[in-house]
């Protein structure tokens, strides 16, 4: 039996945390992720099943927190669902059994690197990184945007905390971009 030791997206055994000035960037390896897309004409059934299973299906451009499932909208009738990795590593299977054939479900956990950003005010950092009017967006705003040529999801958990999902293979470049912006600003 193999007992494969995972590497983080940054290529390390443990999640990485970096700080600069007021900013802390934490790599998150404890989040399981899957896409849920409604099958054609099955939105009502999906809504019902999701409600029952406690899977939020928030409005466009929105993230909704919950336990164990949180979710954010990514495309028409499509969401990314988050859950704790420790308990939900098999998130796709769990969702499939909960949602049945009302949705197409695909594991996305390792397609992304997740960075949590924390600083008293993230706006000065994010205005250097992406075209999102962060101060004007409500908490719970979730959007796709670009940072230094990389397509990412940005989720606003507050003026002071946000999560970025970026393409896993470019985790180092993305972290470098964030750090460079931090040095430029602070």
């Amino acid at each position: 039996m193999a007992n494969l030791q995972p590497l983080t997206a940054l290529g390390r055994r443990e999640a990485t945390t970096v700080t600069h000035g007021p900013l802390t960037v934490s790599e998150r390896t404890d989040v399981a992720l899957a896409s849920v897309a409604a099958r054609k004409g099955r939105m009502a059934a999906l809504t019902k099943a999701a409600q029952k299973a406690g899977v939020p299906l928030p409005d466009p451009a929105t993230h909704q927190s919950g336990a164990p499932y949180s979710a954010f909208w990514t495309a028409p009738e499509m969401w990314f669902v988050e859950a704790p990795f420790a308990t939900h590593e098999l998130i796709a299977d769990l969702l499939k059994s909960a949602l049945g054939d009302a949705a197409s479900i695909t594991e996305q956990t390792d397609a992304w690197v997740a960075f949590d950003l924390a600083a008293p005010d993230l706006a000065p950092l994010l205005e250097r990184l992406c075209n999102v009017d962060y101060p004007a967006r409500p908490t719970g705003h979730a959007t796709r945007t670009m940072m230094e040529h990389l397509g990412v999801y940005l989720i606003k958990h507050g003026p002071d905390t946000a999560r970025i999902y970026g393409p896993r293979s470019s985790a180092e470049s993305l972290l470098h971009a964030i750090e460079t912006a931090a040095h430029s600003v602070w």
């Binding site: 039996m1 007992n3 030791q5 290529g11 197409s104 390792d110 397609a111 009017d133 971009a177």
Partner: protein
Amino acid sequence: MTQSHRIDGGQIDRTKTLRFTFDGLPYLGHPGDTLASALLANGVRLMGRSFKYHRPRGPISAGSEEPNAIVELRSGGRQEPNTRATVAELYDGLTANSQNRWPSLRFDAMGINDKLSTFFAAGFYYKTFMWPKSFWEKLYEPIIRRAAGLGSVTREEDPDEYDKGFLHCDLLIIGAGPTGLMAALTAGRAGKRVILADEDFRMGGRLNAETFTIGNDQGANWAAASVAELSSMPNVRLMTRTTVVGAFDHGIYSAVERVSDHLPAPAAGKPRQVLWRIYAGRAILAGGATERPIAFENNDRPGIMMAGALRAYANRWGVKVGERVAVFTNNDDGLRTAKDLQSKGVDVVAVIDSREGGELLPGIRHLQGAEVIDSSGKLGLSSITVRQTNGRSETISVNVLGVSGGWNPNVNIHSHHRSRPVYDPNIAAFVPGKDGPPGLLVAGSAAGQMSTHAALRTGRDVAIAALELNSAPDLPQAEDAPIRISPLWYVHHGKGRAWVDQQNDVTVKDVKLAKQENFTSVEHMKRYTTLGMATDQGKTSNVIGLAIMAELTGRSIPETGTTIYRPPYTPVAMGALAGRSRGREFKPFRLTPSHHWAKEQGAIFVEVGNWLRTQWVPKAGETEWRQSVDREVLATRKSVGICDVTTLGKIDIQGTDAGAFLDKVYANTFSTLAVGKCRYGLMLREDGIVFDDGTTARMGENEYVMTTTTANAVIVFRHLEFCRQCLWPEMDVQLISTTEAWAQFSVAGPNARNLLRKIVDQDISDAAFPYMGAGNITVGGLRARLFRISFSGELAYEIAVPTRYGDALLREMLAKGAEFDPILYGTEALGVMRIEKGHVAGGELNGQSPALNMGLGKMVSKKKDSIGMVLSQREGLTIEAGYRLVGVKPVDPKGKLTAGSHFLEKGAAPVAANDGGWLTSKVYSPHLGCDIALGYLKGGDRKIGQKMRIVNLLAGLDTEVEIISPHMFDPEGERLRG
């Protein structure tokens, strides 16, 4: 050196002294100075040489419109050519040098051009240098090229960093003079999100240069108080040193913030400049106006400046440019210079007013109805000649002349959408026309509202209009002098040269010549004379030039028309536009799951798009890349090799119509594929040319996994979404990329199964997992996927695990399979094996080839509608003797092939008529012991077995070859089915 020309007052910090050098000589200045103000304070007014005639020049302005005082700032990698001394902020240790002169600024050998100027009339070069023909490139042009240009460029990398950012606001206000400040106060007090940007390092605009009062206070103090109020508002962002340079579509503006240019060097980690893209609901152009000269003979000597600039140097910087000053004006504003300088104790010798009956200032001699017709002085002004109404000429000894020909509203940004300014005879200048950028309003003197009161009023009112506000703040009291101007563009006197565009040395004579030769359209005049094309973008010269042309052709100024301004408003550093995307950070990296392992092994990496892939992994003792690659190939074919193929695009396709959908997008059929099997898929563009290929597996009844080539992963996904949303919107299909979710390795070679048996939990015998099988498996309990597909021609699998386990899986396979001596092979060995096997890839998938040419014509099913099926049947794509994929090997095994070589028949001359096709890909095959290649050969399918030549005329290569089947290795496929 003392600051001999410093006078009282101004907004400089005299408590601190800054040292700087110009052309190696040391000088002193103060914080708040520009390089120009500091040099003038030190009595230096010769700062540059003109482009063509190398005439000595000093500043004419105190702003970004400056054509003359341009210098090379800083040194080494930071050397900054063509920098306007008039806006370069002084810092301690600044070094600047004059440019476009040799050996020195005071003595410039190229000044000979000035003596020969009659030969250098506008456009002279179009009429000569044609004979003998070869002399242009060998003789004339090299001389011209050496002589041309202004500042010089360093060859060193710019050591400074640049950054970019995005800003959003309700209202962007461009310019922080009285208009902009009043607009900002109006919008800011109403709680709107406001950005107020000004190119200067001090807000206030002309208020800092004038002695006007606003309310009960000095204008400059009112400006400072307004800035203080605005800076206390959290909804207002004040951006000094920030030039809005361009207006783009839908309220997007670009602005450059000079974060560190006022410092000796940027602080650690801080950028030199930031390019801001500002997304503004509305914008107000409050960019003020620029004073323009009047052309007269020898009007370009150092010491002849704009009248308003003299005021600015005196009032803002505490500098008198010279001791004896005259003013030449056609409007009331010029008189202000005389008044202000007189009050500062400067000797104002005369006011030459081209009008009759203007205001007479006490204590100053006025020559009304008079014109300055000439000047003299070596390296600087010493006297002017004035022609009075009665025709008498008089020479007046002065070392400074302030000229005012009126003020041009700074309409530039309003023109960025090609809106043409319109002529307003009341101010004898162009004002913004219609169809400017939507959402951009104009106020203050930029809109032709020239008084301070009008600036404040329109600033307020336009802000109210832009944002539909309900309340209007009270306006403070301010001067509201009417515009009194009598247009005078050039002085009609003499045979000498009167400059219109000083930097490019375009004179009235040149405009006249353009007229004489029928270059009378303003565009023709501009292009023929180069008027307005210098680094100052014609800010002080364009309007005069076209007005002169109007006069010469007897047309009105509106009939003559005007050129329009294009972005950027002032020149922008390339570094700022590029931001961080340079050097190794030009594009982000994509790293494969095996990257860390490969790096440990000293692998050589290759850029494949943004991916870094392992090209080969050298072992100790290998000195040539071929040794490593040959070994990797042979080891794989002998036992087993592992290759990281994560970079291939993977698209999860689900839904009840997934199979029907694939039938549409693939040329061949997928709806009939059994669950647990995979199939090679061929994807065409609608024009019938092969788009992409890859293996697609059916993982469940309604679930497929498509693979694409690495290069096309993104565009295939885009295309599938197009098909799904635009062409077949009722299909039940859902797509998502899983490229990065899975670490995928090809395990190839006779021992592939033996190795994987040690890894995979399930039975993978040929019976349980036959060729082209696919399925979900586990690896030590970990979810994984297995596909029995082969690109190498070997018994091969692709095994995938969640990406985080990819590194561990690789190590596990190498460790557990140690008895089979597994190796990791890179893209080179991958290429060798796929070419040996005759699989098409990059070189063959060139976007120009139909399936027929690849020998895959039969894959295009005519029994169903699929993208590209119909148009693939056009006659040009079905030519019987058209290009066909062939294999190629040299007749002599030592013979060399190169990809890109062309096919020729034996004895045929290397001319296009004999061109048989070309080699698409070439490798050395250690298996066959010679170079081998794939190629497209005309009628190639019928030429198998024939001998031809391969020529590479670039390398002098001419090799006899045999045309063979592209399937050069195990053509029956016995190994991969084993």
